[in-house]
Amino acid sequence: MEIACPINKGISTMFTNILRGLVPMSSLPHALPRVQKLPQPRSSLSWASLTSFPPHPQVMYLLLHTVKGTPFETPDQGKDRLLTHWEQIDYGMQCTSSRKFLSISPVVLYLLTSFYTKYDPAHFVINTASLLSVLLPKLPQFHGVRLFGINKY
């Protein structure tokens, strides 16, 4: 776990101040689709929110917790071949600023979405399930854990 691929270093060290790099980078894809949808006073607003919350956690899950290894050759002879991107961030150090930001952003999004959907029970189920699926793998207790042998090799 000593050497991570540069792209993980990229998230933490190249953009050492997360406010300079990670926050704008990840805020932009959320903000853009919502800007169009916000000012329209339709009752279908709630369904618009529905379409905009679950994709974000799903995509995040795919990129951070499903895909393993590095997209390019690293000089450490394949140390991280079986680790997901999340596990490689900051060489496996837990609770660094990048990890904190990436854990908090889906929660903030969830809070906003539940406000916008007026706390509807149906939306609650779907959104909470998405949130849990993306928060649980980020816990330090789940580092390197592969449930039911999925995604092990």
Partner: protein, 469 residues
């Protein structure tokens, strides 16, 4: 229009806030928990997952006091080879001047005699005048000259493969090629008698190494079968592990050839890749000197990677790997010795090109070399106390003691006496040197008379000298 939109927006906001007051309790409780968790996360410290054993300061002090520094120069016996070395003056040609005495050269690996060839020397000198001595960089950073590209092209054409890649140091060739493909979690089946460069490459690759007995195909098949059984137990893991076999064409440590046709059969049966190291067999075996694939009549596309160093037959420095473009191209970014080391000096590349020209123009030198080797092998057979190890057509033989005295040191001392006697009689030989602590399977002590072209008359002298010792 915008006013209506503004009013509509406000109306929606009021509705939202109203919904907040009527929200179900479980939802608000969950949100409260999440907010508390966020606050806790923000204030948590970063930590590493692995537990380190923390020593108390007292334990640290104890350890510091106990520590004894090792001497910079370890105590060595007076007759350690590093302390008594032979000094060679002048270029190593047929005759070599050792310690001021001119001897017949049985020590340089100059198989085709191209080290002192006039054409090769003049090509190198012309290149020296044109380019200077060294390239000032690695291949990727202003260190690629046209001679490098030409040499790669010529080698690929000579070996009849798609592409070749040049390294600037022979040892580094195979030691960089293996870790470029084989990583942690991969499996490499390697012969026990593999040379030190291969061992270092395997060590650098961090893969799982499985040694099989020298040239023993049954042992290799047993290992492959065991691996197959393991793969069937865990097919998902098997799908991501790569398997390789690393063999040498002509083994440096024992002087015999690997049974390549059987290896090809095993390759296709068990789906492993073969890496062939042809340092001693390039320019020696085969009708046109193309190595062991030509010797056995095997299609060169069956071998995944051929690696050789140019320091033996080609009388240059460096090494090359050749194979399919898809395979060789990978080394241009992942071969550590290629990317992070200065490229081959252009004069040596030009010398290698000229040597290749000579090899292509006179394909009969390989036959001559093999005939001389057989002659030498026969002539060395009858010496009492020494046995010849190696194939009859191998130019680098080993002469080992028939009955070992039991301790390696005594054997080495005895062989040294033989070598010194030969040196005094005008024949330069070397002992095979190994880093005893680093080798995986240390071969028995021996000395290496190296056969070259144009050394007919010397054989009688060698024969007499060794008889008398």
């Amino acid at each position: 229009m915008s006013a209506a939109a503004g009013v509509g927006q406000q109306w929606v906001l009021v509705e939202m806030v109203q919904a907040f007051y009527e929200a179900p309790a479980y939802h608000l409780i969950l949100e409260g928990i999440l907010i508390l968790w966020i606050i806790r996360l923000i204030f948590s410290k970063t930590y590493k997952l692995q537990e380190r054993s923390d020593l108390t300061p007292k334990e640290k002090e104890e350890l510091i006091e106990e520590w004894q520094p090792e001497p910079l120069v370890p105590p060595v016996p007076k007759d350690h080879p590093a302390l008594n070395y032979n000094v060679v003056s002048g270029p190593p040609t047929h005759k070599i001047t050792v310690n001021g005495k001119e001897c017949i050269n049985f020590a340089s690996f100059n198989f085709l005699g191209l080290l002192d060839n006039e054409k090769v020397k003049s090509a190198a000198q012309a290149s020296l005048k044109k380019y200077g001595v060294g390239t000032c960089g690695p291949r990727g950073f202003y260190g690629t000259f046209d001679v490098h590209l030409e040499l790669e092209d010529r080698l690929a054409k000579f070996m009849r493969t798609e592409e070749a890649i040049i390294y600037s140091y022979g040892f580094a060739t195979i030691a960089s090629a293996i870790p470029a493909y084989s990583k942690r979690g991969d499996i490499v089946f390697v012969d026990e008698a593999a040379c030190f460069a291969i061992q270092k490459g395997l060590q650098a690759s961090r893969s799982n190494i499985k040694l099989f007995k020298h040239n023993d195909m049954a042992d290799l098949e047993r290992l492959l079968k065991e691996q197959e059984i393991e793969d069937q137990k865990n097919p998902r893991k098997a799908r991501v592990t790569r398997r390789f076999i690393v063999v040498e064409g002509l083994y440096m440590n024992t002087g015999d050839v690997c049974p390549l046709p059987e290896l090809i059969k095993l390759k296709y049966k068990y789906k492993v890749r073969i890496f062939l190291e042809e340092s001693l067999s390039f320019g020696v075996l085969g009708e046109h000197g193309r190595g062991i694939t030509e010797h056995f009549g095997i299609n060169i596309d069956d071998i995944d990677l051929i690696s050789a160093n140019m320091e033996n037959s080609l009388a240059s420095i460096g090494g090359f790997c050749c194979g399919r473009s898809f395979i060789i191209d990978h080394q241009r970014l992942s071969g550590q010795g290629y990317c992070f080391s200065a490229s081959l000096p252009p004069l040596l590349a030009a010398a290698a090109i000229e040597a290749l020209n000579i090899m292509e123009d006179n394909p009969d030198i390989f036959q001559t070399l093999r005939a001389k080797c057989e002659h030498m092998h026969k002539a060395l057979q009858g010496i009492s106390g020494l046995k010849v190890v190696g194939e009859s057509f191998s130019p680098a033989l080993h002469l080992q003691l028939e009955d070992s005295s039991g301790s390696r040191e005594n054997d080495v001392k005895l062989l040294k006496r033989v070598v010194d006697y030969c040196m005094n009689s005008g024949i330069a030989l070397t002992q095979a040197r190994y880093l005893e602590k680093e080798e995986k399977c240390l071969p028995s002590p021996s000395f290496l008379p190296v056969c070259r072209v144009f050394s007919m008359g010397a054989l009688q002298d060698l024969h007499e000298a060794v008889w008398c010792s």
